[in-house]
């Protein structure tokens, strides 16, 4: 299913850029976020040509595509091949959400024995890889948008940026900065509620502290997170060790800094025994 080479050299170039949306192992929530842009959806549909978006349209056109938006992680041999074809047909490829950028919650299986026989009566019907891996482990990715789910405003920014040929304005700093900007009281300092905000990438709008809850890291690790310092604070709150390890082993468990931090917590606990 390689793209038709002659189609790419068609004399009249398409007036509007062709957009494609692809799904791999995921919950559909991130592509739903595109349909949740209720005020902008028809504008987007007017400024791009939606060439392939199976969840929303029966009309599926062959590539090439100017922008491919990819949701979900790679968990089957077939999908491992399919993402190669998607990449080959796409000028830009943007991954959206924790599954596509970190392997998602289903990457918890990466740390366990083969689950298929536990789960299915007839494992021979199931073709599933042992691991769930992010798209960037398989193909070149032009931009990764974080979140479980992604934030609607950030998605609009990314689409607008790629259509305009510029880098998206998406910051890699921690949730703490967003939380201060939102004027929330620090739940960890003021209430003693364990919070992953100091090591988690911003983008959600500090939603959890806004409801008096500690951040649980669904946007994944920020750039250069200091997980060791956070561990000391959580220990001081009586939530180190298994509780912190479990929190790191969440929706972005396979993202390297969180994977390593969870292991460090477990090792420390083991040494303490």
């Amino acid at each position: 299913m390689a793209p038709d080479a002659t189609a790419q050299q068609a004399p009249q170039a398409p007036v509007t850029p062709a957009l494609a949306v692809w799904k791999f192992a995921s919950c559909d929530g991130c592509q739903l976020t595109l349909l949740n842009c209720e005020d902008e959806l028809l504008t987007i549909a007017g400024s791009v040509h939606i060439a392939s978006f199976t969840e929303a349209s029966s009309q599926v056109e062959p590539g090439p595509y100017d922008l491919s938006i990819v949701e979900g992680s790679i968990t089957t041999a077939e999908d491992r091949e399919r993402i190669q074809r998607v990449r080959a047909e796409s000028r830009f490829l943007v991954t959206i959400g924790a599954c596509a950028t970190a392997g998602g919650i289903q990457a918890l299986r990466n740390f366990q024995d083969d689950l298929t026989p536990i789960v299915y009566a007839r494992p021979e019907y199931i073709q599933s890889l042992r691991t769930s891996t992010p798209i960037a482990d398989h193909v070149r990715v032009d931009f990764e948008l974080r979140g479980c789910p992604i934030d609607r405003r950030q998605l609009l920014e990314v689409i607008a940026a790629f259509l305009a040929g510029r880098r998206p304005n998406v910051r890699a700093h921690s949730v703490c900065i967003e939380c201060k900007r939102a004027g929330h009281v620090c739940v960890m300092v003021a209430h003693g509620t364990p919070c992953l905000g100091p090591v988690t990438q911003a983008g959600c709008g500090a939603l959890c502290p806004g409801v008096n809850r500690g951040c649980y890291g669904c946007f994944g690790p920020m750039e250069s997170p200091d997980t060791a310092s956070l561990s000391k604070i959580w220990q001081g709150l009586g939530a180190g060790g298994p509780a912190l390890a479990r929190t790191f082993r969440g929706f972005t468990a396979a993202a390297e800094p969180f994977r390593a931090a969870a292991e460090a917590e477990e090792a420390a606990q083991h040494d303490a025994r």
Binding site: N36, L41, T54, V211
Partner: protein, 441 residues
């Protein structure tokens, strides 16, 4: 084209959530086989839940489905609270119902306008429909947005809400925060009434079915967050008795388990809810349903879009009522007491697509040792296949493209959420030697 063997094959169904296809094998002028193929990669949620803490399922199971995360959160909370023998306050129950109304509004508006209506009007998508009828699609998006805003106001965000916990909420919204939603919901109510009038004008193929319906039933309310499990056959059980009557098994063409009720095919979802609970709908909603051509039951799956519109109107009405009567809980959540020894808990709520069952076993230290989740689409697979078979049989003379399109529509009638369906599965091996022969416990 009526002799010999041929196939109707849609390898990738569009306008459904998740990845599936349909396959109908026609041999000697008869439908030899009708299959809903589900090849969505499994994500093994039930296995991943083992060893986690009892506080975690609302967040983890929400990730099964981006379209109906609240349903997962609510069934999970109910099951864990059951295991801890804890009841929440009426105020918390009302707030949960309000959040759930937001999800019904969002999900039903999505299906009616963007996924299903294009079938009736001959368009490839809601976006194509919008080119000719921008006002209609804008109306649908307005309703959908109202649902999302309600979910964000109560749940913190619309996809995977952050404010839900076992025992209740992290923070209860203020009266003022909820009252701000009223103008938008009143507009959504009017838009939903117009939606109902609009979908009632569609052409529906004659296709009445002899379904066995399964839905929750509650004496005082149209069921959303609670009730007993009822069926057309007279079944009337608690969620704890679910496993005694419903069986699941694996088939080769699906990564989602099939399900039967005492060996019989059944249907859950809006048609089942409506038909089993028509008497509990408010009088004006009943009137609106009647004006749209429905009786107290609906047996034609193509008319499910009308039932969904009735429920959309009801959910807007109910949300407005709950906001009017909102009594902010003094504490947003009740504390749970862990069981003294191992305990099991059961939860059933009405997801937009139908009955969603959760069961958890937890230990005295709050560790989950076992989880079972049965989503509505998994339960409906057999009924969808039966629909396909019986719908295609008298229509084999239709031209291939038309028949294929109508068969796709017959699947979309049930708003299948394949992402949901494939993500469970918790069969235990009972045969020590080989890897076959398993039963679900």
């Amino acid at each position: 084209m009526t002799h010999g063997s041929r196939h109707i094959s849609v390898p990738a169904l569009a306008r459904v959530e998740g990845e599936g296809g349909l396959e109908i094998v026609i041999s000697e002028g008869q439908v030899a086989e009708a299959r809903l193929d589900i090849y969505e990669p499994p994500r093994f949620f039930e296995a991943l839940l083992r060893g986690r803490q009892y506080t975690e399922p609302p967040d983890i199971t929400a990730r099964i489905c981006g379209i109906c995360p609240v349903a997962y959160q609510m069934s999970a909370c109910q099951a864990i609270e059951d295991a801890c023998q804890t009841s929440v306050t009426p105020q918390i129950t009302a707030l949960r119902r309000l959040l759930y109304c937001g999800e019904w509004i969002e999900s039903h508006a999505l299906h009616i306008y963007l996924l299903h209506a294009p079938d009736f009007l001959g368009y490839d998508s809601g976006i194509h429909l919008a080119r000719d009828h921008p006002d209609i699609v804008s109306r649908g998006l307005r309703v959908k947005k109202a649902g999302n805003q309600l979910m964000a106001a109560v749940g913190g965000r619309s996809v995977h809400p952050v404010n839900v916990k076992v025992g209740g909420f992290y923070r209860a919204p203020t009266r003022q925060e909820l009252r701000q939603l009223v103008p938008q919901l009143e507009q959504a109510r009017q838009d939903s009434a117009d939606t109902l009038t609009w979908v009632a004008t569609f052409d529906f193929p004659e296709f009445d079915r002899d379904y066995e319906f399964v839905a929750l039933r509650h004496p005082d309310e149209y069921p959303i967050t609670q009730g007993r499990i009822a069926a057309t056959s007279g079944l009337d059980i608690t969620p704890a008795e679910y496993d005694q009557h419903f069986q699941e098994f694996q088939v080769e063409h699906s990564t989602a388990l099939h399900s039967t009720l005492d060996g019989r095919t059944y249907l859950t979802g809006p048609m089942a809810r409506y038909s089993l609970n028509h008497d509990t709908l408010p009088a004006d909603i009943k009137e609106a349903a009647k004006a749209a051509g429905l009786t107290s039951t609906c047996l034609n799956p193509f008319r499910s879009i009308v039932v969904r519109a009735v429920e959309l109107l009801f959910a807007c009405d109910e949300a407005l009522r709950l906001i009017r009567n909102y009594d902010r809980p003094e504490t947003p959540a009740v504390d749970l007491t862990l069981p003294r020894g191992d305990a099991a808990g059961y939860g059933c709520t009405e997801a937009p697509r139908g009955l969603l069952y959760h069961r958890y076993s937890i230990t005295a230290d709050g560790t989950i040792t076992d989880a079972k989740i049965v989503p509505p689409t998994s339960q409906n697979q057999r009924a969808i296949e039966a629909d396909l078979r019986d719908f295609a049989t008298p229509r084999l003379a239709l031209d291939h493209e038309r028949l294929t399109q109508q068969c796709e529509q017959a699947v979309r009638n049930h708003d299948p959420c394949i992402s949901c369906a494939a993500h469970f599965l918790d069969i235990r091996l009972t045969d020590a030697g080989q890897r076959l022969k398993a039963v679900r416990t």
